[in-house]
Symmetry: C2
Subunit: 728 residues, 2 copies
């Protein structure tokens, strides 16, 4: 790490009552300029009265449990699909909540089930007519009459959430025992809005020392369905999905706004729900737009009240962020002063850094100061190594911070837990100093970025830039790809199929990237049946555009090709329909520009197999069991590259970096401000003429950095090291 | 091999003019009782006049090239799809035969292209109207006007075959130089029928010494499209497909018979053609039924003529077998005396052995006496080891011969090639003796078969029993499964989805097996959306039936499940639609009855991943990266077993053998007449009280055989050995 002199500022410390001395000592040690509370902690007067601005967390939907208890019909709801039951006789009873966590969910028997619920024969995929079933409130079961023997039945029903998800998680993770369960109220009801505003007003009055109101977050939790603990703790988690925004009230308002009605099945969707990794239907887009409009409108009322109280409003870009859509067009209307993102990786740093319409961007580093991590792994307890975790996360995040500025960093959780981990305290001291160093370079202007504009094409497009749709799902190519991209000195943005349908390929774009498995929101699914998309991309590549496809790009079962851009890529995939077709032999030529800088075969993780070339023009750079792994093809004046998979690694990041230049037809322009050693990255800040070189390696590394003239500078780096060079 | 005294008979030797002494010497050595010619060989008078019955090969569709040349409009035809062309301007020219072997195909310009051809925009999957395109006979190109820029176009067109496929293969493989290319004529034309009957009559008169007329085979070759040799030799090969039966004449007759018209796209099918590995459409079934009726009707005329001449008629179950359908209901109407199948494996032996309506069944062993094998690998030339090949194939085939009788074996090709391979001559001597020994046991009655009836459920059902749909395609589960089944002492038959729809599960069935990848003819594809199938199987399992699913059993994207029998199997597969759903943890219990007899993990080849259990009741016997590989589940009184893949091996054959008993609820009945050593098999012939034990191992093996009382007999076997025990 850097040996720079100690610096101060831009760091938010989680304080903790009962540990006042420790709080203030660590504030000094880590250079904190703000102190926050966390869910489950309070700040004592001693802390609050110290000379630090105070961040106070607030979550309005779970803040006033008395109001919630008095208004149980205004709790938040969602649709659940009951577990399937196979009919063994003429009628069946379906215990709706069987398999779900009964402390989280309670069946909504207030809104007429016959109006709002649906029963399905999942064998035939047909709805059961309403007169065939009845709901018994006492048993919590639906009885279906005249069922077809051996068919499978499910019920889409509405459930209130009687324990707010994030506090439920915190409660259980930290053994809060018999502390009262907080219930989430739904601001869709005017009465709830009024209660929340009343509460906020009072709260503001009671928190005169609070400088920053930290929303964790606004109103609706990402989708998180828990299970019967005897079977499985979690059933469904999607960090970007809108399941938990649903209620009859909202559905009625929606139909007034959009002119048609949503059904329970629009949300349940054969039990797949509205997962962010699936291509959203037009109806789901409409719902999200409707909820976004509502969240921004009512959110703004809350934020105005905070501003009126002379305080700032920050938002946590997790937990209850659904509906705020920081990359959407309405986000600036919320008028937030700050946005805080918890981060493990570079792509999350870019996710936060790229948001428009908010002044201060803060990263909350991991590990969170809890005994265990998000997957239940030991952290601040025996068996944990939080210092190593922190360094490992930081090394990833730092790649993103070379490229785009972030204003602040911070931690969260129970500060007292760090007591037994002095190496963690040291690690954070290093990290905070390094952060401040990097930040100061950005203040002098943007770093060198290659003359190369890449867009990532997904079904979400800009709305979910840097792919904030479900945290990191292993084996999903897009996370791996965006993590690589997040640290590269190239211009990256995100577009959707609708963008192309309406406006074609934006001017100035050099490369389109499409990465994902068939049917996923990232590959694009049914969108690839749209001839407008094929026409636009094909014509653009013919004119010199570059296309990089990873995994199953442009894949959908349609017509005579599986990759709908097979004619551009020069490869397609055998999915079992043409096994009797003899495929062209694969000849590997492994001397391509893309493959320089390392030997051996790239590790793409679980990659796509049974790929075949369509012609001998398709250059195959590497293959496995006869299936090409990296290919390069020409179409008109353009170039395309196919990769059978991707995994974030130094080797693959370099492959991608070089591929961008090949696809753009700009190979000669690759060299400037790159490193010879793939485990190192560099950024050159031309206005202040500073060069930053970082290593993501666990061991010492040597690298040559090439300047704009192609001259090389040799640099030695410590493990996870950083070097700053004055180039003036 | 056996040390039995030398025996004679039941062996067909390929003779060769110019090698008379060798022919007669090997006839003696191998115990031949018949001599045949082969494509490319003739028998001299000296051979014909020796005291052996003569088989003479005949292939009527390519027999009279003079007639073919004089009637080029009556050559056989098929639809081809031109390679796709991307439109770069307002019109495109498509060179129809580009990429195809122009010595095999000639565009049919006689039948009006506007009537019989179709042009498709393969980007939109829509047909281009007939007024938009024109065909130029001289250039062999179709020009399409007013195309959509950047869309991809193809033409379905009719091509005559101007070189008959099998003789083309033999010609090229054996360098026949400028020998005239034989052209296939189409018996769909009455004139061609008459010419063929005239030819046959004359031929019969000219072959007085011929005892057996060996058809290779009847009229239509399996589908085999060759490519431009500069690009690829073969483009498409499907040993069971009807592409090559098509002509305008046949299509007109079809529409009269079936009341509707087939289109070119029914055969081209997005370029996938009518591959036997895809689920046949109702229209394709109709076409196959129509052609089968025709082939049997006209075939019978030819066979009657042979019988009238006092000769026998045998059919080769390869090459031009399409339309004969030996497992179909009309086959016996052909009145063939013999059926000859070329074999590599046990399942092919069963394929031949199980055919009804023909008296004599003969296997033509491999290797064929050609310099190279079917994949171009060296055989009877430097680098080849035909003796080892022969033994390896024999060991596989022998497993099938333990279970079902075959009447004869034989070889084919150029006999002189064996000169340089004395070990091959020895090997065949052993094999012929062994074959005769096994045959004599069957003469005493059927061997012991466990009280266990298994049916394999595919979209073909009985019509393509033992899965003769495309030779052995690597990685296709059904071949591996049927190869294992072919040597097991259980009753195996094949049923289709239509059988279940119409008649339910047949009486007496203990186990249904469904094995294959989603969408394949073996798994069943869209058939699994049919609730009647789900009802029948579910109800039957609930009453005690056993279901074994391998790979992607019952899989189709439909409703809330991917495996439509997930409720029976207790597992389903994640195909990317529910990534955000948390799956139940997998706990492995590896002490199940199924896993006895060997340690370690089975090798299933490329298996299905991302499988998950639906409940804790599902027993997981082994898993990989969290994905169950073998599971056992109960439903009602029945049992189900899931396997993530299958590969024919001693270990997996044993797994399957035991699984059958578990699924059937008959584990206690497993032991009788089984071997302890998985590399050995045995058969007990109760009427003559003989026990045969064979080893498929390259090394010496010891095994215990358990008799019906559970008493064990220890047996030692040589590599690939056989032992006969008298149990009386």
């Amino acid at each position: 790490m850097t040996d720079k002199p100690k610096t101060k500022g831009d760091f938010t410390l989680p304080g903790e009552a009962g540990y006042e001395d420790m709080t203030l000592e660590l504030a000094e040690r880590w250079g904190a300029d703000a102190i926050r509370d966390s869910d489950g902690t309070v700040l004592s007067d001693k802390i609050v009265e110290a000379d630090y601005p105070i961040y106070s967390t607030i979550c309005l939907v779970r803040a006033d449990n008395e109001w919630a208890k008095a208004n149980r019909d205004k709790l938040q709801q969602n649709y659940l699909m009951s577990d399937p039951v196979v009919a063994e006789k003429e009628h069946i009873d379906i215990d709706l909540l069987k398999g779900f966590f009964r402390e989280q969910f309670e069946i909504n028997a207030n809104d007429d089930p016959k109006t709002w619920w649906q029963v399905f024969d999942r064998t035939t995929a047909e709805e059961v007519t309403k007169d065939q079933w009845t709901f018994d409130k006492d048993s919590g079961a639906v009885t279906v009459q005249n069922v077809k023997k051996w068919h499978k039945y499910t019920v889409n029903f509405l459930a209130y959430r009687i324990w707010e998800g994030i506090s439920m998680y915190n409660h259980i993770t930290n053994d809060w025992g018999d502390r009262e369960h907080q219930m989430p109220i739904d601001p869709i009801y005017p009465e709830a809005q009024q209660a929340m505003l009343n509460y906020l007003k009072k709260w503001l009055d009671e928190h005169p020392r609070t400088k920053i109101v930290r929303f964790t977050s606004l109103f609706y939790n990402f989708a998180w369905f828990w299970g019967d603990p005897a079977i499985q703790k979690f059933r469904y988690a999607d960090w970007g999905s809108y399941e938990m925004t649903v209620s009859p009230m909202a559905m009625r308002l929606f139909s007034r706004a959009k002119g048609y009605e949503m059904t329970s099945e629009d949300f349940v969707n054969n039990g797949a729900y509205c997962s962010s990794h699936n291509v959203p239907s037009g109806r789901l887009w409409d719902w999200m737009d409707f909820m976004n409009e509502f969240v921004v409108r009512f959110g703004r009322q809350c934020i105005d009240m905070i501003h009126d109280a002379g305080k700032l409003a920050y938002m946590f870009y997790d937990d209850h962020w659904v509906g705020t859509e920081p990359w959407g067009r309405r986000y600036r209307d919320l008028n937030f002063d700050g946005l805080i993102k918890c981060v493990f990786n570079a792509f999350e740093a870019r996710l936060c850094a790229g948001v428009q319409g908010v002044r201060t961007k803060e990263l909350r580093l991991h590990p969170y100061l809890f005994p265990t991590g998000l997957k239940g792994e030991p952290t601040f307890m025996e068996g944990g190594n939080p210092a190593l975790d922190a360094k490992r996360f930081w090394v990833n995040i730092r790649r993103g911070l070379l490229r785009m500025p972030i204003d602040r960093i911070g931690l969260g959780g129970y500060l007292h837990l760090v007591r037994d981990f002095p190496d963690f305290v040291d690690a954070i001291e290093h990290i905070t100093n390094e952060f401040r160093t990097l930040k100061q370079f950005h203040a002098g202007g943007a770093p060198y970025t290659a003359p190369l504009k890449a867009v990532v094409l997904t079904a979400w497009g800009k709305w979910r830039s840097w792919d904030y749709v479900g945290h990191f799902i292993p084996g999903v190519e897009i996370y791996e790809v965006t993590e690589s991209l997040a640290g590269l000195p190239v211009d990256v943005s995100f577009i959707s199929f609708q963008d192309i349908q309406k406006h074609g390929i934006p001017d100035g774009v050099d490369i389109i990237i499409n990465a994902g498995k068939a049917g996923s929101v990232w590959s694009g699914g049914e969108h690839w049946k749209d001839a407008r998309v094929i026409e636009a991309i094909t014509g653009w590549v013919a004119q010199g555009g570059g296309f990089i496809g990873i995994g199953e790009p442009s894949a959908v079962r349609h017509s005579s090709q599986y990759f709908q851009l097979a004619h551009l890529l020069g490869v397609d995939r055998e999915i079992g329909l043409t096994l009797s077709h003899v495929k062209l032999p694969v000849t590997v030529s492994s001397t391509h520009f893309i493959l320089k800088d390392f030997d051996g075969e790239p590790d793409f993780g679980k990659e796509i197999d049974n790929v075949y070339v369509l012609g001998s023009d398709t250059e195959v750079l590497t293959e496995k069991e006869g299936s090409p792994r990296i290919t390069v093809n020409s179409f008109g004046k353009g170039k395309t590259i196919y990769m059978s998979g991707f995994k974030f690694s130094p080797e693959n990041t370099r492959l991608l970096h070089r591929s961008l230049f090949t696809a753009a037809g700009k190979e000669p322009e690759y060299r400037a401000w790159t490193c010879s050693n793939i485990r190192t990255d560099c950024a050159f800040y031309p206005r202040i003429k500073k060069l930053v070189v970082i290593s993501s390696s666990d061991t010492a590394e040597t690298t040559d950095v090439f300047d704009a003239a192609g001259k090389s500078i040799r640099i030695h780096l410590e493990p996870h090291g950083i070097k700053i060079m004055d180039m003036s």
